[in-house]
């Protein structure tokens, strides 16, 4: 192994809130992430509404690997590597669609939507009828499961069940996908763009970095939102860090960031959401990361994945989420609002790109820049594991870096473990606290 355990432990001191910049650029660490993190963790693939009908499929990635996700005739979902078992060519190059089979365009090996190898040219003459086709289906993920429409998969057969992996974050995820009886749907169209930086920068920001908002996004949020929330002291709110690496930060008493065409609808639905979830979860706007690379802005109807493309490049795949039962004009208003603020050209998001890209360039070119220990000490020692109502480790303030520390603690466990890193000290009884 090119990166040894003690070296990693020295680089990530989550207890003191210091992380070496090196983990955001080192090639060997990145290759180890593909092996130990992205080939083990449960990764988000799709929402049910993206592939509603049998034969519907989409192309995505699990870590660096291309994966096809397809709805089966019985309504279940399968996911498998988009790489032919003959020579490893992509068997499907469309980003989404509906099909009965995938034919590799190199030699014509053809697979059904379950990933079974069903046709091989010259099977009977050139292969003499001796090819064991049943052994050469597309490589399936080890486990696939969904939580309230969010479909996840892992390449590790030893990974615990999805619900156990999500752990106490489920309490908060409910507020993003199950706040109204009809649940959510994802609008068509994935906005995809490229940052020349490290994927963890974005994942940690969405887990816990509310602190950047009033500076980075000064030009956009100051003119199109309730500006007083973004100046002065930390807004009233809280941060959740899971022992399992997930994080959420929310501002209280605010149904969304923007006064847009969907604002009235969100205000109206608020009582429904509060009745289902209580005000702490329902009447907040925030940002979250489900470890390692699914994030979103629940008050603002956004889901996104940070797809790693090397130590210093990642792609953002961003979706807009609406309530499934919302009127069509509300969905349209949300689409317009999200297009204005989020995505490659979003007035908010363009400033994140400026930060993340330039930070990557500094690490790419420099030596001294890589030696820096970045500071993650905000709120250190001011969190509680015994909040009266909220599960997880709680910081009773919107600003803090507890979720980032939890993220890197978990990252370190994956990276330094030979097998699936079980959390012996995770409190499985968290749900008793919230009377689920």
């Amino acid at each position: 192994m090119a990166v040894d355990r003690s070296e990693l432990l020295a680089k990530v001191d989550w207890e003191r809130g210091e992380v070496s910049a090196d983990i955001f650029i080192d090639e060997d660490i990145y290759r180890l992430e593909l092996e130990r993190l992205f080939s083990r963790a449960w990764l988000f693939l799709a929402h049910d509404t993206m592939i509603p009908k049998p034969g519907d499929f989409l192309n995505t990635y699990m870590g660096g690997d291309p994966v096809l996700v397809a709805r089966q005739r019985d309504g279940s979902v399968k996911a498998y590597l988009n790489a032919c078992r003959h020579r490893g060519m992509k068997v499907c190059r469309a980003e989404d669609g509906n099909t009965k089979h995938f034919m590799c365009t190199y030699h014509g090996w053809t697979y059904d939507i379950a990933g079974n190898l069903v046709n091989v040219p010259n099977e009977h003459d050139a292969y003499h009828g001796e090819l064991p086709k049943e052994e050469f289906g597309l490589k399936q993920v080890a486990q696939i499961d969904s939580y309230k429409g969010l479909i996840f998969a892992t390449f590790d057969a030893d990974a615990p069940p999805l619900l156990e992996y999500l752990g106490d974050s489920v309490y908060y995820i409910d507020a993003w996908v199950d706040h109204v009886p009809g649940g959510i749907e994802v609008l068509p169209g994935v906005v995809k763009w490229t940052i020349h930086g490290n994927w963890k920068i974005a994942a940690e920001q969405f887990a816990g970095d509310g602190y950047h908002v009033n500076v980075t996004h000064m030009s956009s949020l100051a003119q199109i939102s309730n500006t007083d929330l973004y100046t002065g002291p930390s807004p009233a709110g809280f941060q959740f860090s899971s022992r399992l690496g997930h994080g959420y930060s929310g501002i209280y008493n605010q149904p969304s960031r923007f006064e847009d065409g969907a604002a009235d609808y969100r205000t109206q639905r608020m009582q429904t959401a509060i009745d289902r979830l209580g005000p702490e979860r329902a009447n907040t706007v925030g940002n979250f990361t489900v470890f390692p690379n699914l994030s979103g802005l629940p008050g603002q109807s956004n889901l996104r994945v940070w797809h790693p493309k090397g130590p210093n490049t990642f792609q953002i795949w961003s979706w807009t989420v609406v309530d499934r039962d919302a009127p069509e004009e509300v969905k349209r208003a949300q689409q317009l609002s999200s297009t204005l603020t989020e995505g490659a050209a979003g007035t908010v998001e363009v400033d994140d790109g400026e930060n993340w890209d330039l930070m990557g360039q500094l690490l790419q070119d420099g030596y001294q820049t890589r030696l820096l220990k970045w500071n993650y000490q905000m709120g250190l020692g001011h969190e509680t594991d015994d909040h009266a109502t909220l599960p997880g480790r709680i910081n009773e303030m919107y600003f803090g870096e507890g979720p980032q520390r939890a993220f890197y603690r978990r990252w370190l466990e994956f990276m330094t473990s030979e097998k699936w890193p079980h959390c012996d000290d995770f409190d499985d009884d968290w749900s008793k606290k919230v009377n689920r």
Partner: protein
Amino acid sequence: MTTQLERSTAPIATGVTMQVQHEVEQFLYAEAQLLDDWRYRHWFELMADDIRYRAPLRKNRLRRQRLEDEVADRGTEMALFDDDKESLDVRVMQRETGKFWAEDPPSRTRHLISNVRISLPVDSAGDEYDVRSNFIVYRNRLETEVDIWAGERFDLLRRDGASFKIARRTILLDQNVVLSKNLSVFF
């Protein structure tokens, strides 16, 4: 009904005079200059009150499932840009705050506009033109950052005295995954 795409791929003989061709091209060049000179408020003033400024996503689809008309409206599908005059104004105001870090210091851009093809809209009263043009937008930023975007624009230009207003612009950016860190420029 024929689409804008079909109409403007018809052979020449669209009833558009050399004079109109000249006026439209000069207008597009002047518009590009406003963007490259960072005069965004002046650029914004070229927009009609009913402007729709839109850049749909470009998809990788198999031929049999691809969109027949990539320019047509797609309902609630997400887009790179989907602005009316009010939201376009928000984008311009952002540049005027002095706090827009993505463009402060400002990028150097060069809008190269070519292949200008003009036709008359079906229901035209004679004061509007469907204009297709190709573009390359070069962005150079800070010390060494470079982005190059190519694509095509489908505009509806409306006569406005001696000039035009842009009443509709649909931008087909020739990228699937946007290759840059952001799109903090106008096309």
